[in-house]
């Protein structure tokens, strides 16, 4: 008896399930192009990440970053110029950008590949800045590769060499090697910072003022600051 009176309810529930399921299936059909953070390739050997600053600096700041991550974009656009102006010229610190494309981002792998290809020509940081400055545009673009190619041209790369690198995915192994380092450290969010091997434990990305204080104390041989937690990543 109860089953009969509940029939319209079950029909409604079925309609809801089908409509919701169809929306989810349509979403999976909208997946991005085949390069993903899990696309395999032989891992590149050599040091992980791309550095900026003095090789002999006593402090190294390692940033695990995803080009599609809004937080990373915010840090790159707002803090990084200050890092370059106020922190790096002191010679006390070396910045190491480590590729960490999150699996949730469909277009991010293309940006990491594009930046790694620009790095082949010594134009990584120019490309890094342009990718973050134009993050919303290429992320919302139906053809991010074309837009990233335009950015690479602005960064000053040789276009033919860049295009061959991207089409052959020549530098993808380098991106994966970076990601493998992050995975081995259990990183699951970006940006994540390590300062001389210690995890930055703040809830937000560090500000330049905070970094300056930490770098000064580390360079002076003081104990580790309170907001960093012990851990020891190896960049190679």
């Amino acid at each position: 008896m109860a089953g009969k009176s509940l029939t319209p309810f079950y029909i409604g529930l079925g309609v809801l399930a089908v409509a919701g399921g169809a929306y989810i299936v349509a979403g999976t059909a909208r997946r991005g192009p085949p390069l993903t953070a899990e696309t395999t390739a032989p891992l590149a050997s050599g040091p992980r990440g791309i550095t900026l600053g003095s090789d002999s600096a006593p402090v190294e700041i390692m940033e695990f970053s995803d080009f599609e991550c809004p937080w990373c974009g915010q840090f790159a656009n707002l803090q990084m110029p200050d890092v370059r102006q106020r922190l790096l010229p002191t010679g006390k610190v070396r910045w190491r950008f480590v590729n960490f494309p999150l699996v949730i981002h469909q277009k991010s792998p293309y940006a990491h590949l594009a930046a790694a290809c620009a790095n082949e020509q010594g134009r990584f940081w120019e490309m890094h800045d342009l990718i973050y400055q134009h993050q919303e545009e290429w992320v919302s673009s139906r053809n991010p590769l074309r837009m990233l190619g335009d950015l690479a041209a602005q960064a000053g790369v040789d276009k033919a060499r860049y295009e061959s690198c991207v089409s052959e995915r020549r530098s993808w192994g380098r991106v994966l090697a970076d990601k493998a380092l992050g995975d081995s450290l259990g990183i699951n969010g970006t940006p994540t910072f390590y300062i001389n091997g210690r995890l930055w434990g703040g809830n937000q990305s560090p500000t330049v003022d905070q970094l300056i204080r930490i770098v000064d104390s580390l360079a002076a041989g003081a104990p580790a600051p309170a907001r960093t937690r012990a851990s020891a990543p190896a960049p190679h």
């Binding site: 309810f9 999976t28 909208r30 997946r31």
Partner: protein, 139 residues
């Protein structure tokens, strides 16, 4: 009985929403529909999107599935007259509300971004709790 139908419908909606976010977490669905805002991305890409090795949305899948099963079981002749399923629904949805409060606190005070899908889930679990509570008072 009516409240169990309402809870079942809400639980199914929450289940679909959680499946969508879980698939997104694993990169199995396209870009997250967020009305052009980056706040959903911020929440999903934050370190708080994973709890004990599992995506937070995955806990939603489990929670809503249990809620749906209990609500549907409570509609069957065998359980229709029993107050047990309603009590269980109150208990389960109260747990969901508590977890939602924690997640909303994270969004407001740690991540500083509000994801509209999370707001949707919060509304669903609160409504499920209210409906269950109303059902318990009537029975």
């Amino acid at each position: 009985m009516r409240h169990r139908q309402i809870v079942a419908a809400l639980a199914l909606t929450g289940l679909l929403l959680s499946i969508y976010l879980t698939l997104y977490h694993y990169g199995l669905t396209g870009q997250l529909a967020c009305g052009g805002a980056a706040s959903c991305e911020k929440v999903q890409a934050s370190r708080y999107a994973v709890l004990l090795g599992l995506p937070v949305a995955g806990y939603g899948v489990g929670g809503y599935l249990v809620l749906l099963v209990v609500a549907l079981a409570g509609l069957q002749d065998r359980w229709a007259a029993s107050a047990g399923p309603t009590r269980l629904l109150v208990l389960l949805s109260a747990g969901g509300v508590a977890f939602t409060i924690y997640l909303t606190w994270l969004e407001l005070f740690r991540i500083h971004a509000i994801c509209r899908w999370c707001v949707g889930s919060a509304a669903i679990i609160v409504l499920a709790f209210v409906a269950s509570l109303a059902g318990m008072r009537r029975s």
